[in-house]
Amino acid sequence: MRSRTLAVAVVITASSLVVAGCGSKGEAKSANAAGSGTLAIGASLSLTGSLAREGVLTQEGYQLCQEKVNAKGGVDIGGTKVKLDIQYQDDTSKPDVAAQLVDQFNDKGIKLILSSYGSANTEAQAAVIERNGQLMVDSAGADNKIFSKGYKRTFAVLSPATEYAASIVKAIAELATPKPKSIAFLSADDGFSKTVTEGGMKAAKAAGFTVLDPQYFPNGTSDVSSALTKVKGQHPDVIIGSVHLVEGVAIIKQAKELGVTPAGFGESVAPPTPDFAKTLGAQAENVLGSSQWTDATKGTDKYFGTAKDYAKDIQAKYNHAPDYHNAEASAACLALVLAAEKAGSSKADAVRAALSGLDTESFFGTIKFDSTGQNLYKPMSVIQIQNGKALTVWPTESAEAKMIWPGTK
């Protein structure tokens, strides 16, 4: 009887294996073969798991891009217009699944990929992209480490991680009066946040600030009280958090609870997200944040128009204020579309060549890549929450409001 059970097992195993991968070995047929009428792009998204919030924002950005491009008739490839067709898969916020998805897209002949959210996922994907000869535009993996590995097929539209806190430091150095003296960095302990902190500390030292020892807390925690208690006694003039939304909210909330009162707060990532001001209410006032994009960003392109137009479209379609995660996702998609048009081809190699030579203005600002694939040409904006709204205060040429600086004690 045991043997029979085993026989059943073998049959099930074998047949499920066959179902898991029906098809025959060999180079998969290109999904973008001439005449198919579509340009298929694969997008791996964190729709469940710890990054689901950002994953949804990213998906909105990709989705709006597809609509905008198709509303104009589609992507112009060598004179024929083809519809953009973005295929989504959930990577459950796990890097190994994100990497596996890239392979699965490759099986379907999809060579053009839009990245998942977050540096860990993107880094895992970049390695696979390279091996498979695919091409990825990275919308949200900002850690410079990804671009130090010699990968040739991953391009990031966003400014690198080192700029996130550094831009806040520069804005304060330029605009705050009286000029504060000391800065404390509080950082999540993931790779991206640490790179942000390193970049920020370097900029702060260069600008002549006294930089206190950075304090770390676990990525994703909602309790940062130990880090705050530690810096409380040092009375820093400025606290800059290298954080994601949860930790960013926690810093502001718990600083108030603990009576930690620097002259100013700055945080990467968190403040530009609509949830930030919504969650914190009055406490969010005057917090500075760095943003990859704001609706004051200069530049225009044929699909989205200006940043203001883009903001309206997001508001209309998704019923919330635009978030830079939306914008960077749309921009990544836009870069891929523009490169395919420039190349007149949907072949990965041709699009890659076009991408590396791309130099264009867009609603997202300049899109231009250096030899490692990073977009160093677009400055980051610094926003400040004023009356519940995130307004651009730096760089001054695109500022919507003056920075409010409560003053140094």
């Binding site: 689901a52 009280s225 609870e257």
Partner: protein, 294 residues
């Protein structure tokens, strides 16, 4: 020194909140030997109920938490009565799997219904704090802490003094004997689970007031409940409170004096050391431990 005092105060308050989160988890484990992996989901669900109450009816979260408790109680009662009771006599890890499945459904259900947006129940006072010299005592957390202590005391009174409570205790010690004495185990189990879920719901409303939440935060509350419940000792109603306060203090002090994020390793080190040298927990009762080991 003021850093130490501040850390101690904050750690105690944080510990009280953790105790409130874990007390229901500990109750269910102690009485039914069910490790409820959906407990964190219950907590977050309670936070959403509190949030909705505040958003739509302007109900203060310290009142809204009673709505959370009521909703979660019903939810918990029904779950135990009609689902978990079905496998309660199976191998013990089966309830673990069942509640894991529940957790997947609850968390993804919340994701679909409420989206993954981060939220917080805003009050005018919860972030204010009382100043004692250089030490700040945040009001919201102080209230939550007081509530945790009050609920623990109340729970002990209910369990030790009332008929219902005694039937829960009796069923926990020996289900067979309890049934012979006319206690309806099915109902008592459902009641226990309902109470635990209700307490989780209350804790959720508190969490939502002093912190930020979204569905994916559920997992960390389940994990914390594990640590707190075991540390305090199962079955002892004061166990969760003791465990919560110990973890709160360990984390606050460790965070103050350890570099990097070593403090997180410290919490687990304490857990393991306690388990090795005092496996019944800090205040656990012997007969519960014995029951575990049979």
């Amino acid at each position: 020194m003021s850093g130490f005092l501040q850390a101690t105060v904050y750690g105690l308050l944080q510990g009280g909140l953790l105790a409130l989160v874990a007390v229901g988890f500990s109750l269910v484990w102690g009485v039914m030997n069910v490790v409820n992996l959906a407990h964190g989901g219950f907590v977050i669900l309670g936070a959403y109920v509190g949030w909705e109450m505040h958003e739509w009816f302007g109900l203060d979260p310290f009142l809204g938490m009673f709505v959370s408790a009521a909703v979660l109680f019903v939810f918990g009662y029904v779950l135990q009565r009609f689902l978990i009771n079905l496998v309660i006599n199976g191998p013990i890890f089966i309830t673990l799997l069942l509640t894991f499945g529940l957790d997947l459904m609850i968390v993804q259900g919340m994701n679909l219904v409420f989206s993954a947006d981060y939220r917080s129940i805003k009050t005018s006072y919860a972030s204010n704090s009382l100043a004692f010299g250089s030490v700040r005592v945040p009001l919201g957390r102080l209230l939550a802490f007081a509530l945790a202590v009050a609920i623990t005391v109340l729970l002990v009174a209910v369990v030790n003094r009332t008929r219902t409570g005694l039937s829960i205790l009796a069923t926990g010690m020996d289900r067979g004997a309890a049934r012979l004495m006319g206690i309806r185990a099915r109902h008592v189990y459902a009641l226990t689970f309902g109470i635990a879920a209700g307490l989780a719901g209350m804790a959720g409303a508190m969490i939502g007031t002093v912190g930020t939440f979204n569905p994916s935060a559920a997992a960390s509350f389940t994990l914390m409940s594990f640590v707190v419940a075991v540390l305090g000792g199962l079955g002892n109603m004061y166990g969760a409170l003791v465990g919560g306060l110990v973890i709160g203090l360990v984390q606050a002090w460790g965070g103050q004096y350890l570099p990097g994020t070593w403090v997180n390793a410290l919490a687990f080190l304490v857990l393991i050391v306690v388990l090795i040298f005092r496996p019944t927990g800090l205040v656990g009762r012997a007969f519960y431990a014995a029951r575990q080991e049979v």
